[in-house]
Every structure is written in structure tokens, then in C-alpha cells.
């Protein structure tokens, strides 16, 4: 019973580390997906006296993905449908050129400001609408959300590290006795530590498998998927190969580090 308790305390500590890492990974993915979504729907409107070629527009800033001229036909048609073709052409020539600029990704407010300045460096551009009011709020909300989740993950990590250090002391006490006894019969240090490393690796494997089962369940859970769909994003909650490799590695490294600290901190009894 005591042995199961000792196993559980490390497994639970590892589970909380792995869960906090996965929460951070999923949040990052969700924010990236949401930013991509926003970038698709976000554009900057540029008004120019003269025609600006697409190549010239793309040269202004690397963030610009595409530039399309907005046709004035609809507006002219609304103004007067009885206007003859000659007048329409004259109006078209006199009207400023409107461009809709699509960006590669959802920019930060600073990037929007730089882009606006660079657009104004082109003398023919005299108006840029970057929708900065709405854009700033959305971006700040995203940053705030990411910050809160990151802080939450860091707090979990800190609490877990404290738990692990407490666990370390218990293990040090528990394993010291056995290591001392083995030492009295001439066991070399590697042999004295074998049991400890085996336990650490077994606990790491158990914690990784439990996390795998838990996350596999969440990754197909309709309620969880629905939450993401409700904000028009699709996120991989658990990449069974890549994520598992990361989590398993973290679990093994933490456990082996713990075992190493115990071995290094072990003092032989007189």
C-alpha cells in the first residue's frame, strides 16, 4: 500500500506537468489557428491617386500577401444607371483607386502601424484604413488570453516542481536505506541505483500512458471539439505521435533527473 502511495505521488506530479505542457501546446495552437482565421478575414484598405501595380504593393512590406483593386463599377452603377459609357469612363478616371490588401498573418498593432507608415511613403497613397480600433482590441484579447493560460501553466509547473522536491526528499529517505544496505555488501553505485532508476522509468511510462489515454479521449470528445468549432477554428488537441514524443520525453527526463538528484544527494551511513 505504501509502495503504491509512493508511486502515485510521482505519477500525479508527472501527470500535472504533462497536462500543463499539453494545455500550453493546445492554447498556442488554438491562438495560432484563430490568428490565421482573423488574418483571412482581415484586410487593409488603401486609397491612391494613381494605379499601383501588385508587384509594387508587395514590395512595400513582407507581411503583404496580396493586393486587389476594388472595382468602382458597383458604386457608379448605384449613382446613376442612365449615365452613358463615356461619362462613366471619365468618372472612373477621376475616381481614386481603392485597394484591398491581404496580409500573410494577423499582425500586431505595432506591425500595423509600421505598415501604415510604409504605405504612406508611397506619394500616391493618401488614405489607409487599417481598422485599428477593432483590430487592437481583438489582438489584445488574444494576447491577454495567451498570457493568462501561460501564467496558469507556469503556476501548475511551479507547484508541481515543489511537489517533486517534496517527493525527492521522501524518495531520498526511502531509497537511502536500501542503497546503504546494498553498499554494506559491496554493491557498486550503479547497482545500488538500478532499482531507483527502474522505478523512475516505470513511473514515467505509467504517467505518459495515462496522459496518452486522457488526451486521446479529449481529442475525440465532441463537447471539446464543439467549443473550438464555435469560434470557427479547428485544432489538433493531441497529435498522437509528435505530442506523445514530447510528453514522454519530458516525463522520462524529469524522472531520471529526480533519480540522479537522489543518487547525487545520497550520503553513505557510517
Amino acid at each position: 500500500m505504501q509502495s503504491i502511495k509512493n508511486h502515485l505521488s510521482l505519477i500525479i506530479a508527472l501527470l500535472s506537468i504533462l497536462a500543463s505542457i499539453q494545455i500550453f501546446i493546445v492554447t498556442d495552437r488554438a491562438i495560432t489557428a484563430y490568428k490565421e482565421n482573423l488574418a483571412n478575414n482581415y484586410s487593409v484598405i488603401v486609397v491612391s491617386h494613381k494605379t499601383i501595380k501588385k508587384e509594387d504593393m508587395l514590395k512595400i512590406n513582407d507581411i503583404i500577401l496580396d493586393s486587389n483593386e476594388i472595382s468602382p463599377d458597383k458604386v457608379i452603377k448605384k449613382l446613376n444607371s442612365k449615365m452613358d459609357a463615356k461619362d462613366v469612363n471619365l468618372i472612373k478616371l477621376a475616381l481614386p483607386k481603392f485597394y484591398k490588401i491581404h496580409l500573410k498573418y494577423y499582425p500586431s498593432p505595432d506591425e500595423v502601424e509600421i505598415l501604415t507608415k510604409q504605405l504612406f511613403e508611397n506619394r500616391s497613397i493618401y488614405k489607409v484604413e487599417d481598422f485599428s480600433n477593432i483590430h487592437d482590441k481583438t489582438y489584445k484579447l488574444l494576447v491577454l488570453f495567451k498570457g493568462v493560460v501561460s501564467m496558469f501553466a507556469v503556476i501548475i509547473l511551479l507547484v508541481t516542481i515543489l511537489l517533486i522536491f517534496k517527493e525527492l526528499k521522501i524518495w531520498q529517505f526511502k531509497h537511502s536505506e536500501r542503497m546503504n544496505i546494498m553498499g554494506l555488501f559491496g554493491a557498486p553505485i550503479w547497482l545500488r541505483s538500478v532499482v531507483l532508476f527502474r522505478l523512475a522509468i516505470v513511473d514515467a511510462i505509467i504517467a505518459s500512458v495515462l496522459t496518452f489515454i486522457m488526451l486521446s479521449y479529449f481529442s475525440v470528445n465532441q463537447w471539446v471539439l464543439e467549443q473550438f468549432r464555435s469560434v470557427d477554428i479547428e485544432v489538433v488537441i493531441f497529435d498522437t505521435l509528435n505530442d506523445f514524443v514530447i510528453l514522454f520525453s519530458v516525463s522520462i527526463v524529469v524522472s531520471i533527473l529526480l533519480a540522479f538528484l537522489i543518487v547525487l544527494g545520497h550520503k553513505e551511513e557510517l
Binding site: 509502495s3 546503504n180 544496505i181 546494498m182 553498499g183 554494506l184 555488501f185 559491496g186 553513505e268
Partner: protein, 223 residues
């Protein structure tokens, strides 16, 4: 006759201020059965600790099994300990291991084959009358039974030297008798050198033994 232990001007201390054993000279021949007696705090257990390298000499020289212990390296100390069997008053059994695995310990450390280990453990369990308890854990046994397990462990690898610190200190008559019989048998049949630290020597012993007494940091031969 080969000397298993040779101490010359040996001083032992836990700190610089207090010397427990002061410049003693003594030796133990191979196959001797030796008792070391003394009052509580006289330094008899300290002397025993120095014999298995848990306490290094402060001054003088100490050679055990041909290995000098003054500046011994960890690997040499491990090598020496693999040829010694130790019995403690508090048994020092690994609580999370079965008694079978506890007895296997020195055999595993010495790299014996599984078949040899199994045979040896079976034989020892019969000798210490614990055949039916092999799967139990130390805390499920009485003090006397635990000490019998510790005794079996000390004998498992046929050591050249057995060191016993108050082996029957708190035991019932049955277990005490069994332990003394095992120590006598090892000495007589396998020529194992035995050194026992104790408050008093049992009067039921059938073998010849040497007796040293420690007092005021000095060791004196009684007979």
C-alpha cells in the same frame, strides 16, 4: 597462518576532538572465532565499523583481507565488502524486499548464476528454519526471525569474514541458539573467520574462541 585482520597503532574517531579507539594493536588469524566485549560506549561497535570500512582510521594502519583501509578507494572497498558478511543488531534488511530477495542480495552483487542463487537460498532458508516464510516481508516477521534472515544473508556468499554486532541482543532463546549454531558451523565447516561484538559471551559454545576486551580506548586479550 594467514592474518585476516592486522591493526597497528590504530586510532579511531568520529571527530578531531574525541578519540574512541586509541593506538591499538591486534590481529586475527584466518579461521579464528573472536569475541570483542566491552561496556556500552567503549568503542567495540566503532572498531567493527572500521573493519568493514564504514569508518576510516584516524591514525595507524588497518589491513582487512589483505586490503589496507587507510586510503581505500570506493571500488576497492566494494570489492572487500563482497567478501565479508555483516550481521547487525537492527538487522538492516531491505523492508520492501521479500526475505528470499534479502538473502539473495550478496549473491546478486557477486554475480552468481540464478541456479546457484536459488539452491543457496533454499539451503539457507532450511538452515534458519524459515522455508515456509520465504515470500514474506521483513516487517511481517518477529525480531528473532528477522535476525535469522540477516544471518542467512551474511552467510549466503560464503564470506571469508563474518562481522556480527550484538547478533543476539534482543532475541528469544530459540533464535539466539540458532544464530550461535550457524556462526559455529560457518567457522568450523567453512573455516570462516568470525568476529562478534557482544556484551556477554554465551556459555553454550562448543568451539575454541579468542576474547578481546575494550576499555578506555584500548584492547586487551582476555584469552
Amino acid at each position: 597462518m594467514d592474518k585476516v585482520i592486522m591493526a597497528e597503532n590504530l586510532s579511531l574517531a568520529y571527530s578531531d576532538n574525541e578519540t574512541i579507539i586509541n593506538k591499538i594493536n591486534f590481529s586475527v588469524d584466518s579461521g579464528d572465532f573472536v569475541f570483542i566485549t566491552g561496556a556500552s560506549g567503549s568503542g567495540k561497535s566503532t572498531l567493527l565499523k572500521s573493519l568493514y570500512g564504514a569508518l576510516r582510521p584516524k591514525n595507524g594502519s588497518l589491513i582487512v583481507g589483505g586490503v589496507s583501509l587507510e586510503n581505500i578507494t570506493k571500488s576497492k572497498l566494494n570489492f572487500l565488502r563482497r567478501h565479508i558478511g555483516i550481521v547487525f543488531q537492527d538487522y538492516k534488511l531491505v523492508k520492501e524486499w521479500t526475505i528470499e530477495k534479502n538473502i539473495q542480495l550478496p549473491l546478486l552483487i557477486n554475480g552468481y548464476d540464478k541456479s546457484v542463487i536459488d539452491n543457496q537460498v533454499d539451503s539457507l532458508l532450511k538452515h534458519v528454519r524459515l522455508m515456509h516464510q520465504s515470500g514474506k516481508y521483513p516487517l511481517e516477521l518477529s525480531g528473532g526471525e528477522q535476525q535469522r534472515v540477516a544471518m542467512a544473508r551474511a552467510l549466503a556468499h560464503n564470506p571469508i569474514l563474518i562481522l556480527a554486532d550484538e547478533p543476539t541482543g534482543n532475541l528469544d532463546d530459540y533464535s539466539s541458539k540458532l544464530i550461535w549454531n550457524l556462526l559455529e558451523s560457518a567457522n568450523e565447516q567453512l573455516n570462516t573467520t568470525v568476529i562478534v561484538v557482544t556484551h556477554h559471551i554465551p556459555d553454550t559454545l562448543l568451539i575454541d574462541y579468542k576474547h578481546y576486551h575494550i576499555e578506555y580506548g584500548k584492547i586487551n586479550a582476555v584469552h
